[in-house]
């Protein structure tokens, strides 16, 4: 599923944000136009991809956000919106009136929630208002950016607002050459322990936890893998991209942490598959140079069999930042 950026502005400033670099380099008033949206929708439909994610920045900052959603629904796309849940009064009323009654099979939200203890009151009020109306369409998302984290508050959100009983667990990744908060490689096992410690309460509350990309398999012990396997009914993923992101200026790149590298124009490709293959090929080349985030990734049988991709590629890129240009040239572009 490709990600379409409607805006390049955000209402929050999360310490782990891996879109930070991209946002800083973009024009804040650069928003997706109708004509570009139609072009992307056509390209996706032509490629047989009928699912689309809308994100930003904060996608609801786009003045045509609601219109874009109903347009895409009318074109038979499944629309998934990544939002902070924080939106202005006018946009919220419009979204409530038009979108709250849409069939959950057609429209869904992922609301990335931060720990309320560390969020301003006004932000919390906004998130609660959003969840009160859209909770039934919303999966909570939580980004882990330090080994010691706490998402107890999400259980309360799920029960209070009738959210989907699934937590989308993201692992914050480094932006090569830049500073953002993420779990250091040597603390990943500690983070995994903490995560596993949540399983009993999640099972009791019948809440599933699904991994976003970039979790390495070997940070979990054999026993932990077994517990995760049972918890997620056998659906476990330790993959890494390329997720295809499309900017409002029709630039395209293979996932946010790598937005600084290999950016292309969408017009250079004939299908989503072409784009995906292009970035898959680059990722593959990078992984030949640096197999994964651990040294052991080099000859790991699970990586070879693609059960695990060796963690987020952004970690691998960090290897090349300060070295002389001795590898294949595209890696430094």
């Amino acid at each position: 599923m490709a990600n379409i950026l409607l805006t390049q502005q955000c209402v929050r400033s999360c310490p782990y944000c891996f879109a930070k670099k991209h946002m800083a380099d973009s024009e804040p008033d650069d928003i997706l136009t109708w004509d570009n949206l139609i072009y992307i929708a056509d390209l996706m439909e032509h490629s047989g991809e009928m699912g689309v994610s809308l994100l930003g920045g904060e996608p609801t900052l786009h003045p045509n956000f609601v219109d874009f959603v109903i347009y895409l629904l009318e074109r038979k796309f499944h629309v998934n919106v990544f939002t902070s849940g924080i939106m202005g009064e006018k946009m919220f009323s419009e979204a409530e009136r038009v979108l709250s009654g849409i069939n959950p099979d057609r429209l869904s939200f992922v609301c990335n929630v931060n720990n309320p203890d560390k969020s301003p009151f006004s932000e919390l009020e906004n998130v609660r208002r959003f969840l009160k109306t859209f909770g039934h369409l919303t999966t909570p998302g939580f980004n882990i950016y330090k080994p010691d984290f706490n998402f107890d508050f999400i259980f309360q959100y799920i029960n209070e607002f009738g959210m989907r009983r699934h937590i989308r667990l993201g692992l914050a990744h480094p932006i090569p050459g830049k500073h953002n908060s993420y779990v250091p490689i040597d603390k990943m096992k500690q983070m995994a322990e903490k995560l596993i410690a949540y399983l009993p309460v999640m099972e009791r509350l019948k809440i599933k936890g699904g991994f976003d990309c970039g979790f390495p398999l070997c940070i979990f012990s054999e026993e932990q893998i077994g517990r995760l396997f049972k918890h997620n009914s056998g659906r476990l993923s330790f993959g890494c991209g390329p997720a295809i992101d499309i900017g409002p200026d029709m630039s395209v790149w293979g996932c946010f942490p790598l937005s600084n590298t290999h950016k292309k124009s969408i017009y250079e490709f004939d299908s989503m598959n072409d784009i995906r293959n292009y970035y898959r090929d680059i990722h593959h080349k990078v992984r030949i140079e640096v197999a994964g985030i651990f040294d052991a990734c080099d000859d790991c049988i699970y990586r070879e069999e693609q059960l695990c991709m060796g963690g987020c590629l952004a970690h691998s890129y960090n290897h090349f930042i300060n070295e002389a240009n001795i590898r294949f040239k595209e890696i430094y572009q």
Binding site: T33, D35, D42, I70, E74
Partner: protein, 289 residues
């Protein structure tokens, strides 16, 4: 030689005078749609299209279930509130309608793009303000080369379907204003070759009974060949290769806004492409029992 299609304002007395005639009726009110349709049929005429020029937006049009099957050409100022239009989309898709948006509003190229992508047949209505030929070219490119199924946008589809490098292709037909196919008549039975001529009182005949004699009229033949005068002028249009499909329609603005040359040249190329694709996809036809 086939009979002309007559274009007239909706006037009950005038319509009753026609018999077995193909008609384009211009309405002044949405309430006249069913009435005009019924009257044309009752008088044993053939309704080619009802035309409504609405000063408001598409969102403000009171579409009606009973309009199903009635051929309509609706000229509106803009799309208007998108959510309102989306609410009417299922009915709009069911109607035999083409929506025209004017080039006078810069947003309308995008409006047409949206409508066509949602399966609503639509068309460009060339206004009086300067035309953004680049935006027009983008729209034409989408209309002809777009890979995903979408509804037609006129006059691009008309040109693509009818283009013949060996003769002129007049896009005025899309606007019921090509004297080869359409002639205009008022309630006093004055006959003119174009809507503008009728408005300015430049009549060539009078009386319904004389309609079929128009082919013999010298003025008619002269009007059909009026385009030749352009070629005698020493201006840009005479030397423009896209002449065959624009026929000097934008000659007055061409000096100030010369983008029309590139646009119509690209449109001809697109028409060539359209024809070649059609020929490639042509199925072998076997005799039928």
């Amino acid at each position: 030689m086939r009979d002309h299609i007559l274009v007239c304002q909706f006037d009950e007395d005038l319509v009753r005078k026609f018999h077995n005639q193909r008609l384009v009726i211009i309405l002044s009110d949405f309430n006249q749609v069913q009435q005009a349709h019924k009257l044309v049929n009752d008088c044993q005429n053939n309704l080619h299209c009802l035309v409504i020029d609405h000063a408001g937006s598409l969102a403000s049009v009171p579409f009606h279930e009973k309009w199903r099957g009635i051929p309509l050409a609706l000229f509106v100022s803009e799309i208007g509130a998108f959510k309102e239009v989306m609410g009417k989309l299922p009915l709009l898709r069911d109607l035999n309608i083409r929506i025209f948006l004017s080039t006078d509003n810069k947003e309308n190229c995008t409006g047409l793009h949206i409508l066509a992508s949602l399966g609503i047949d639509c068309g460009v209505s060339f206004g009086e303000k300067e035309i953004d030929w680049e935006a027009m070219n983008d729209l034409m490119t989408y209309s002809i080369y777009g890979k995903v199924n979408h509804a037609s946008i006129e006059p691009f589809q008309f040109i693509a379907r009818n283009y013949n490098p060996a003769r002129l292709t007049d896009l005025s037909s899309v606007y019921f204003d090509n004297p080869y196919t359409y002639i205009h008549i008022d309630k006093n039975e004055n006959i003119a070759l174009t809507a503008n001529d009728l408005k300015e009182g430049k009549f060539i005949l009078k009386g319904i009974e004389n309609v079929h004699k128009i082919f013999e009229d010298e003025k008619y033949q002269e009007a059909l060949n009026a385009w030749q005068k352009f070629l005698l002028k020493e201006n840009g249009c005479a030397y423009c290769q896209a002449w065959r499909i624009c026929i000097g329609k934008f000659s007055e603005s061409a000096d100030k806004n010369p983008g029309c040359r590139q646009f119509f040249t690209d449109l001809m190329e697109a028409a060539d492409h359209f024809i070649s694709v059609q020929q490639k996809n042509k199925r072998k036809e076997v005799w039928q029992p």
